[in-house]
C-alpha cells in the first residue's frame, strides 16, 4: 500500500490578496487528516474508561510561505495540536503529512532528518530551555546534531548573528537561562527554532512576554524570514491583533475541533460561527457597547456535550439539532475557502 492520499487542499488565492513580497506556494508544506488525540484518565480497576480528548478530527493545512493563525480559548487543544503536528506526541488517530510524506510511515532516522525542517517555539520559555546549558549551547545544539556547520567559528558566528537579529548582544551567549529576563529567554527560544533553517515553524505565543516594540521587531524578523525562505508557520496567540498582523488564514478552535477556518480578513470581519463572534467580541475594549460576554466556563474536554460542543453556550442554539448532531466544516464562500462548522451560521 502506498501512502494514503492527502486530503484535498484548495488552490492558493491568486492575486486577490497580496501580502508584501511573500509568495504563497502551491503545495502545502504541512497538512493533517482528521487528527484525534485521546489521553486515558486514571480510573479504578473496574471503572469505566474515561478519556480526555484534546483533539477531535482536526484537518488543517499550511502552505509554503503562509502563516496559519490558530485561536481559541485556553485549554481548547492548541498546544496539543502543536505537539502532534511535529510528532512530539503521536496522534491516536489521523495522519500528518509533511512536504507530502506521512510522518507515521517514516523511520526514526527519516523523522530525525525531517525534524530539522520543522521546529517549534514553545509557549513557556523558562521550562523549555535546559537550565544547565548556556544560551550558546542551546542555540548551537541543533547545528551540531544536524551537522550544519563545519567549524566552531562558523557555528559561533551563526549563533551570534541570529541572536543579534533578535536584539540580543553577544554577551548573552555565555549566560544560563535563569540569568536572563523572561523577554530574553523567549527570544532565545525563537533563535533555537530558527537556527537550523526550518521550512515550517510552530509559534506558540512566541512574543507574549515581550514589550510592544520588541514584539514588533520579532514579528518583522519572522516576516522577513518567511519572505526569503518561504517559511510556513502555525501562529498561536491569544492576542488577536498579533494574529491579524501575521496570519494569512485563521483557524478557530473550540474544544478540540476546528469550528471556522478562512482568510484572516474574512474570519475577522465577517465571522460566521457564533463562537468566533463571541471570541472576537470579547477582545473589544470594555467600554465598547458591542462587546458581548459569554458564559466563561468552557465545557470540559473529558465529557464534551453531545452534538456541537458549543451548544450550551450558544445564542443560536436549536434544540433537537445542535445537541444531537455534530456539524462538520462546510465551505460557505467557495472563492475564499471560508469554512464553518455550524448548522445555523451567522451573517
Amino acid at each position: 500500500m502506498t501512502s494514503s492520499a492527502p486530503p484535498s487542499v484548495p488552490p492558493p488565492p491568486g492575486s486577490s490578496r497580496s501580502h508584501g513580497s511573500t509568495k504563497l506556494g502551491q503545495a502545502p508544506i504541512l497538512q493533517t487528516d482528521r487528527l484525534t488525540k485521546l489521553y486515558p484518565l486514571p480510573q479504578g480497576l473496574f471503572g469505566k474508561p474515561r478519556f480526555l480528548r484534546p483533539l477531535d478530527g482536526v484537518t488543517i493545512y499550511v502552505r509554503r510561505g503562509e502563516t496559519l493563525g490558530l485561536v481559541g480559548e485556553s485549554g481548547c487543544g492548541k498546544s496539543t495540536l502543536a505537539r502532534v503536528l511535529l510528532y512530539l506526541v503521536e496522534p491516536t488517530l489521523g495522519r500528518v503529512h509533511f512536504d507530502g510524506k506521512d510522518l507515521a510511515r517514516m523511520s526514526a532516522a527519516q523523522l530525525r532528518a525531517t525534524r530539522r525542517r520543522m521546529q517549534i517555539v514553545f509557549q513557556s520559555p523558562s521550562s523549555s530551555l535546559n537550565p544547565r546549558m548556556t544560551v550558546y549551547e542551546v542555540v548551537a545544539e541543533g547545528l551540531i546534531i544536524h551537522r550544519l556547520t563545519r567549524s566552531f567559528h562558523e557555528r559561533k558566528e551563526r549563533v551570534e548573528a541570529l541572536l543579534a537579529e533578535l536584539g540580543l548582544g553577544p554577551d548573552v551567549m555565555d549566560h544560563y537561562p535563569h540569568e536572563l529576563s523572561t523577554g530574553q529567554r523567549q527570544r532565545v527560544g525563537i533563535a533555537r527554532a530558527l537556527a537550523v533553517g526550518p521550512d515550517f515553524v510552530v509559534c506558540d505565543e512566541p512574543v507574549n512576554a515581550l514589550d510592544p516594540s520588541l514584539q514588533a521587531e520579532v514579528l518583522n524578523l519572522l516576516e522577513t524570514r518567511q519572505a526569503n525562505h518561504g517559511l510556513g508557520m502555525l501562529y498561536m496567540s491569544h492576542d488577536l491583533r498579533l494574529v491579524a498582523q501575521t496570519a494569512h488564514r485563521v483557524a478557530v478552535m473550540h474544544l478540540g475541533r476546528i469550528v471556522e477556518m478562512g482568510p484572516t480578513r474574512a474570519v475577522f470581519e465577517t465571522p460566521r460561527h457564533p463562537y468566533t463572534r463571541a471570541l472576537l467580541s470579547a477582545a473589544r475594549p470594555s467600554d465598547d457597547p458591542q462587546r458581548r460576554s459569554l458564559a466563561a466556563l468552557s465545557p470540559s474536554a473529558v465529557d464534551p456535550p453531545p452534538g456541537c460542543a458549543f451548544h450550551p453556550r450558544c445564542p443560536r442554539f436549536a434544540r433537537g439539532l445542535c445537541d444531537v448532531e455534530t456539524p462538520t466544516l462546510v465551505e460557505t464562500a467557495p472563492e475564499t475557502h471560508h469554512r464553518v462548522a455550524c448548522f445555523r451560521p451567522e451573517g
Binding site: S74, T182, G183, D211, Q215, E217, H238, R265, A282, S293
Partner: protein, 363 residues
Amino acid sequence: MSKVARVSRLSLPIPLVAPKRVPDPTPPTDALLDIRQLTVAFSSDIASLRVLSSVSLTVPRGGVVALMGESGSGKSVTALAALGLLAVTTSARVMAGEVWLDGRDVLKLASGELSELRGGSVGIVLQEPGAAFTPGYSVGFHLTETLRLHQRLSRGQARERAMACLAEVGLPEPRRCMNSLPHELSAGMRQRVTIAIALANDPRLVIADEPVADLDAISRQQILPLLAKSRQGVARGVLLITNDLSVVSDLAQEVVVLYAGVVVELGPTRDVLGAPSHPYTRALLASALPGGFRERARRRDKLPVVGGPFPRLGSPWHGCGFRDRCPEVLPQCTEQTPELVSTSPTSAARAVVRCFRAGAARG
C-alpha cells in the same frame, strides 16, 4: 541588551550611592504599597549593575497602578523588591530606599513577619506560571498549603475552599484539577491556578506580573475583575506589571513607565496612554500595534519599533538614558540627567515626566 552585560567588559564599577536611610522614620502614608527612592543593584565581586535607580511609586488602597516598560527595564525586579523576595530569588541587593507595605517597612521585617504578609494580605502572581509551581506536587497541595498557612482550617475545609477558588477562576472540573500535577495542565489553566492561589486568602493588595499573558479574551473578561475586587466587592490595590495596553486601559487608574530602571513618566491612565509626554512612552505606544484586530487584518503594514540600543546598565552614564534612541534629543540630554517634572501643575492628579523637552515646553 540589558542586565546581563558581560562583567569582564566593564572597566569600572558604577559609583553607587551608599545605602542611606532617611534619618527620621517617615510615617507611612495611607498608601497600601509605597516604594520610595528604591535603588537595586545586581552585584558580584567585580562589578555591579544598577537595575533600579531611585524608583518611587505608590499603590493607593483600592487603586490599580500599571507598571510598563520594555523587557529588562526592571519591572519584575520592582515587584520582587516590594515583596522582600529579591535576596531569595536573585543576587540583587537593595542599595537605597524604602518599601512600605500596608504600613510596614518590608526591608526591615523579619522573614517570619514577611511570610505572614505574602500570600495573606498580599497576593502574588508571578510571571510565567510554568515556573511558579513545585513540579512534583499537585495543584491541590499548592492551594491548600496557602490556605492553611494563613487561616485556621482543617484539611477537609481547606480542600473545599480550594475547589471553590479553582471554580472562581473558571476552571472546569475543579476536582480533577486539584489532583493534577502542574505539567498536566495547559499554560492558560496553570495561569488561572496561580491567580487562584494569589487570591485564595482574599488579599488587600495583589502584585501581578503579566497575570493574563497566557489567557484568551473570554477568560480575561472573567479574571481581571477578580484581581481588582475582593469577594465582598471591595476594591483591591493592584500593582499590575504588563505591557498589554488593553489590560492597562481596562483596569489601571495610574500608569508608571519604567525605562532602564528609571521612572520616566507617571500619571493617570487616560493622560499617559492618550497624550504621552515622554518620547519613550510615545515610541512604546506607537509600536503597540495601532488599531484593533480588524484594522490590523486590513492594513498589515510593517510595524514601527523603538529602535536603537538599550543602554548598558553596567557602564555609568550621564544624562538621559534614552538619548541615543530619542528622535528629539537636545544638547543638554547628554550632559545633565533630567529630573521628574510635573506636567499638569493645575490638575489635582499627579502627573510627572522625566524629560527636558516637557519641562521646557510647559514651564
